[in-house]
């Protein structure tokens, strides 16, 4: 990778942040004849808000009507549905049921349906209690009815940014991980971006730094918004709980919070969460006794059978909330700077919509976009890590061609040696066991490494990798 320090090669565009938004912008820019760099403080793509959320592909039915978020969520969902199919990103259209548990909530359903209409979403439908219980027999007692949103879907939040980044890197975008931006100075037609691994020089700067986006903005003189990290804790239940849940079960939102939902995951687990708590520390993804306790209490109401199942994992993510109720996206032509901040909890869904919008704005502001010669880059075909489709261990022809795909290493998630060695040899190899599990699901299951962590660690070592990783997957 070229070192851009000092007067070395300068980039046309530097994107700060390799989350789902930054990598989506990189992928969109990659089709043009530009020298583009993506820098991120983490050791992998998607290590911030991107990796820990509810993993829902929203319809935007409940967005603030008329907001930029509403528009970009709708557009992004349309683009990502199509992209996911091409790139092999696990996605399931489970639909959602927004469940009313009190007369007041029941009375609000009509208003929510009206709001959905104003957001351009017309497919909602009222579901009376008897039909609701017929469809979701494990729902706790006391539900009065629900609003069905048939297009709400679940998606893999890990494969998505990896697919964007892989496509971008294949098209020549340079990815600089472990690169934290410390300051930005103007130098004529250039930005000199000081990082903890040298200075990067670029003509255009795109701030997609998520939880750090206000700080980057301040380095460019902005002061319009402040990130107020809002922590969401979630509990992941065992895959054996998956048959309990059909659709995503949403609560009626209050003015304070969207509330606790129950949702299947594309890996075949069931999620319960999130909490919503403002925290001062942008790195504070610790779970709390109170938070997990409140989730279990909510779970006992929504679905008592679920809470009786084994817990596989719990985690917390931070939403990049601001004092504003909408995305903070602005392009400053004079300073050749795009701020893509305040992307709250809908960034995964909206990512391709945001990228399209930002690139249009950049073009309007004077960034010269000339399509590259030759074919447009195609979406990469990513290793499939979902539960609904065929995994390598289920594919007899694939095992016959390479027995490594019949060698199951991680038993809970049925991850084969072939998939692990593929991930370690991929264009974007994992930096640690945490990265490996986001690419393969290895050690992500109910035993959390009791049976397989030692063998997974030896495979990583054999491949010359570093078996260190977070989440208790390794010793040190």
């Amino acid at each position: 990778m070229t070192n851009l320090g000092g007067s070395a090669q300068a980039a046309d565009v530097l994107i700060v942040g390799a989350g789902v938004v930054g990598t989506a912008i990189a992928r969109t820019l990659a089709r043009y004849d530009l020298d583009c760099v993506v820098a991120d403080a983490g050791n992998d793509v998607g290590t911030g808000t991107t990796k820990a959320n509810t993993a829902i592909l929203h319809t935007g039915f409940d967005a603030v009507p008329g907001s930029l978020e509403s528009t970009l969520v709708r557009r992004g969902a349309e683009l990502l549905r199509c992209y996911a199919e091409q790139a092999g990103i696990p996605l399931e259209r489970t639909g959602a049921l927004l469940v009313a548990w009190s007369a007041d909530q029941h009375a609000e359903l009509a208003g929510i349906e009206e709001k959905a209409r104003r957001n351009g979403y017309l497919a909602t439908r009222y579901v009376p209690a008897d039909e609701l219980y017929a469809r979701e027999p494990h729902l706790g007692p006391g539900a009065l009815g629900a609003l069905e949103i048939p297009d709400e879907s679940i998606i893999c939040p890990w494969t998505t940014p990896l697919a964007y980044a892989t496509e971008a890197v294949h098209a020549g975008v340079r990815l600089r991980l472990r690169t934290r931006v410390l300051g930005v100075t103007a130098a004529g037609d250039w930005h000199d971006v000081r990082t903890d691994s040298g200075t990067l020089r670029c003509r255009w700067l795109v701030n997609a730094a998520g939880l750090e986006s206000d700080r980057i903005d301040a380095m460019l003189g902005g002061s319009d918004f402040t990130i107020q990290p809002r922590r969401g804790e979630l509990i992941v239940f065992d895959k054996l709980a998956r048959p309990l849940v059909g659709a995503i079960l949403l609560p009626v939102p209050t003015t304070q919070t969207k509330g606790v939902l129950v949702a299947p995951t594309v890996y075949g687990n069931v999620l319960l969460g999130p909490t919503a708590q403002d925290v001062p520390d942008r790195g504070d993804t610790a779970t709390t006794e109170a938070g997990l306790g409140s989730l279990l209490a909510a779970g006992r109401t929504i679905m008592p059978d679920l809470v009786r199942e084994e817990v596989t994992a719990s985690y917390a993510g931070l939403r990049a909330a601001t004092e504003h109720r909408d995305y903070q996206i602005r392009v400053d032509a004079g300073r050749r700077y795009a701020c893509v901040g305040g992307i709250r909890s809908t960034g995964l869904t909206a990512s391709l919509g945001i990228a399209e919008y930002v690139v249009d704005q950049l073009a309007d502001a004077g960034l010269a976009l000339r399509e590259r010669d030759g074919d447009r880059p195609a979406p990469p075909v990513m290793p499939y890590i979902g539960q609904a489709g065929q995994r390598p261990y289920q594919d007899g022809a694939r095992i016959a061609a390479d027995p490594a795909y019949g060698d199951i290493v991680c038993h809970c998630e049925r991850v084969t040696r072939g998939e692990i060695t593929d991930a370690l040899a991929s264009a974007l190899p994992p930096a640690d066991l945490d990265g490996l599990r986001r690419r393969t699901r290895a050690t992500n299951g109910r035993c959390q490494g009791f049976f397989c962590a030692a063998r997974v660690a030896s495979l990583v070592c054999e491949a010359g990798g570093n078996p260190a990783g977070r989440d208790g997957r390794d010793l040190k």
């Binding site: 509990i235 054996l240 790195g283 993804t285 610790a286 779970t287 709390t288 006794e289 938070g291 997990l292 279990l296 084994e310 817990v311 596989t312 994992a313 719990s314 985690y315 261990y393 289920q394 007899g396 095992i399 016959a400 027995p403 490594a404 019949g406 060698d407 199951i408 038993h411 049925r414 109910r446 035993c447 959390q448 490494g449 009791f450 049976f451 962590a453 030692a454 063998r455 660690a457 030896s458 260190a468 990783g469 977070r470 989440d471 208790g472 997957r473 390794d474 010793l475 040190k476």
Partner: protein, 444 residues
Amino acid sequence: MNVDVLIAGAGPAGLAAAIELRRLGLGDVLVVDREQEAGGIPRHSAHTGYGIRDLHRLMTGPAYARHYRWAASAAGASVRTGTTLTGWPTVSSELEPGIGSPGTSARQHRTISATLTSPAGIEDVQARAVLLATGCRERPRSARLVPGSRPAGVLTTGELQQRVFLNGQRLTGRAVVVGAEHVSFSAMLTLLHAGARVTALVTDQPRHQSFAAFPLAAQLRWRVPVWTQTTVTGIAGSGAVTAIMLRDERDSSVRAVPCDLVVFSGDWIPDHELARLAGAELDPGTRGPVVDTALSTSVPGIFAAGNLVHAAETADVAALSGRHAAARLAAYLAGRQSPASAGPAGMADPAAGRRLSVPVEVARPLLWISPNAVSPASPMPPRGQFVLRSGAFAGRTRLEVRQGGRLLQSARARLVPGRSIRLDGRWACHVDPAGGPVLVTSGR
């Protein structure tokens, strides 16, 4: 492929069952194990204490595992490792209780299909009967909902032992072991062997739950204290663990104890996935499949043994459970037992409308009993003993076994949470097949 018996799991229970089935004259006995090597958990438990009850000698875990591998092969059982039972192609449609034709006698002679996946490919095998011996695992930190950050250096005893004894990994730094059961002391020994220092064993119980000699030796020889009435309230550290947060339940004070490793030990849960996917009813106490005294599950032709039905007993007890299941399974295949008695534990036969076996339940502080049903045709449990667990300490309490108002048995026992409690099983011969559930209580 067709076999007489398919055994899932080549640990002590599965291998002991295979040896016994061959001894009883069964032709094709296939044992599959998803690990690379047969032998189960003892493979990586380097300490001694194995083999007492089943082999009548004292050996280390790896030697014990080697013995069973050799004995199974010598007995003519075929053992396939690196092979995962990945599905039951016919179970969901044909075997699920209450679904399909109620022709019980016709079901007795059907085979059970299982899908096996290995580097050699995907293959369906037809078995006349199946024994599940899939064992158990420790609940990891996440399943115990211990809050805090999620740094590296937090693991279970199982992972620790594999890293140290199978991978040869060395460890440095300070470790805290969560738990004070037998396995917790085993984790302590593994940590010391690998080069780590052990700060303490912590338990929320008022005292340790192992043999008195273990904590005494820990204290005197290695100067490792047991901190009782201490709850883990969090894990701290970004990247690597830096501290464990502990709350002293006596005064509710919370302190951070610096450490580099945290080992969560004990708190066993059966690996019940295959049993559940086969449609077997689960016991709410053991979390393993419901089994009667013949170790038959609620699915005809599927038996279960070892720590899948009592998580966790020592390896020799698991092996003897496997041997017991083998004998009952062979009898089932020979048709020596009536179809009814080999049928679903504690469930009504939809065809005949009568109870097939008698459920056995426990009342708090008892948490579970295994087996959890009595088969009238084969009432004696493995080793003639029922195994129980308690959620609270009680010194020399009275256990009472009643069916309706009738007292079947009364015995003294010492209750220690997480520790095995044995109950002589002769009362099971006096259970009235039509008399309703049996209840085991403890009290003065």
